[in-house]
């Protein structure tokens, strides 16, 4: 009888302790963040939202016969599209703290320590057929920059989409001799491309212009076999006739 009372008391204790544990666990779960959605889920939600708006939202037909979202449907999908893009990029790209080398490379190339740069996204490198990436930035002067994250190396710089709303026309009084432009291009490439001075004699040089307004100085590397969809690696400096830098590319390996 005494033992039964002890057992009963012990049992009650276990029940109370168990209930407390459950309560604590339930409370903790109530405050836990939900598991993050997978990329597949994020894409699925965006796709579902678009289909819903196509079924019941504002849709119009454009001049070329295509359907286009409009009004509140467009605003809603545009916002969701941007949010989903940012979420996916945050998961598939380097952490912002790991991209400091990109910023240094761009600022060094431009010689502007305080150049404000905005990161846009990480994408596949269109010059490579091996899955390698580029990190894309824009500055406040209308330029876009691509940086190879494996080496924090500038791959391309030039006017970004939407910039240059006025043409850069150079009058006769501001034109530089081609020799001066060539010297500037070589100097710029020397400073921006590691080992360029030593490699230049083995590269194939090319000079050209468009309407004598913009001059291109290019050095192609035809020495290595390539995948058939790739361009031969090259360095290229584009200068307007007054010496202003228009674009720069370095895809040497």
């Amino acid at each position: 009888m005494r033992y039964s009372k002890i057992i009963a008391a012990f049992g009650a204790l276990v029940v109370v302790a168990g209930a407390s544990t459950l309560a604590v666990t339930a409370n903790a779960m109530k405050h836990m963040a939900p598991a993050p959605k997978s990329i597949k889920q994020l894409i699925g939600e965006l796709d579902d939202a678009i289909r819903r708006e196509l079924d019941s939202g504002c849709v119009e037909t454009d001049a070329k016969g295509g359907k286009k979202l409009c009004g509140a449907a467009k605003e809603k999908i545009d916002r969701l599209h941007e949010e989903t893009a940012a979420e996916i990029d945050a998961r598939t790209s380097r952490l912002p703290g790991d991209r400091a080398g990109d910023l240094r490379a761009i600022k060094k190339f431009r010689g502007l320590d305080r150049l404000p740069l905005t990161y846009n996204s990480t994408s596949s490198n269109p010059y490579r057929d091996d899955g390698s990436a580029i990190e894309s930035y824009v500055d406040d002067q209308g330029n876009e920059y691509w940086v190879d994250p494996s080496a924090d190396r500038l791959v391309q710089m030039g006017p970004h989409a939407g910039s240059d709303q006025a043409p850069h026309q150079v009058g006769q009084e501001n034109r530089l001799p081609v020799k001066e432009l060539r010297d500037r291009a070589i100097s710029l490439a020397d400073g921006a491309v590691d080992g360029f001075a030593a490699r230049r004699s083995s590269l194939h040089p090319l000079e050209d212009n468009k309407d004598k307004q913009i001059y291109f100085f290019r050095w192609d590397d035809f020495s290595a076999p390539l995948k058939e969809s790739e361009l031969p690696p090259f360095v290229q400096v584009a200068l307007y006739a007054d010496g202003t830098l228009a674009s720069f590319t370095n895809t040497l390996r």
Partner: protein, 175 residues
């Protein structure tokens, strides 16, 4: 591990398995020719440069071996345009690149990218600043389910001093 499929009619589909959290990487190149390309407008306004452009003198796997161009027009009198259509749009975000050829690419070109079934991103690209190279159409912004790219002869520089030519060549879509 890589699988590559090629069609000399002007389409390259490249599928690369990569150790990314993202879905399988895919690359599509659409040429200015073949069944995925439609050029519209008076034929006399289209000009063709043989042996120029990406397929014209840099890539041997694809065709056609020319790029085409037209003079840019007052936006109110735009007449010629072309559309590249992705045969099977990727259900993912992609970057869109245009190949800017070295010849007859001197305008501020007006591109529209169709994405997400029924959305459109319009932008301009200074073709004059580039020479036989790839250029991003959306400043690094990737778009979901890219389906079409349209380029027309509408040019914001029209009326400024100079003669401007809009070049139509390959389009590349990568995720």
């Amino acid at each position: 591990m890589r699988t590559k499929m090629m069609f000399i009619s002007g389409l390259l589909s490249l599928v690369v398995s990569a150790a990314l959290a993202a879905p399988t990487q895919a690359v599509t190149v659409l040429a200015n020719g073949g069944s995925y390309f439609r050029a519209s407008g008076p034929i006399q306004y289209w000009h063709f440069d043989a042996g120029e452009g990406y397929c014209g003198h840099l890539a041997s796997w694809c065709s056609p071996s020319h790029m085409q161009w037209t003079y840019s027009m007052d936006p109110l009198h735009s007449s010629n345009w072309a559309m590249w259509t992705v045969p099977t749009p990727e259900m993912y975000y992609s970057a869109v690149y245009a190949f800017i050829p070295r010849r007859d690419a001197t305008a501020l070109a007006f591109y529209s990218t169709g994405y997400g079934y029924a959305s459109e991103r319009q932008t301009t690209v200074n073709q004059n600043a580039y020479y036989d190279q790839w250029v991003g159409l959306n400043s690094g912004q990737k778009l979901y389910r890219v389906g079409t790219v349209v380029l027309d002869d509408n040019n914001q520089w029209f009326g400024k001093s100079g003669v401007y030519r809009v070049a139509f060549d390959e389009i590349k879509i990568e995720n």
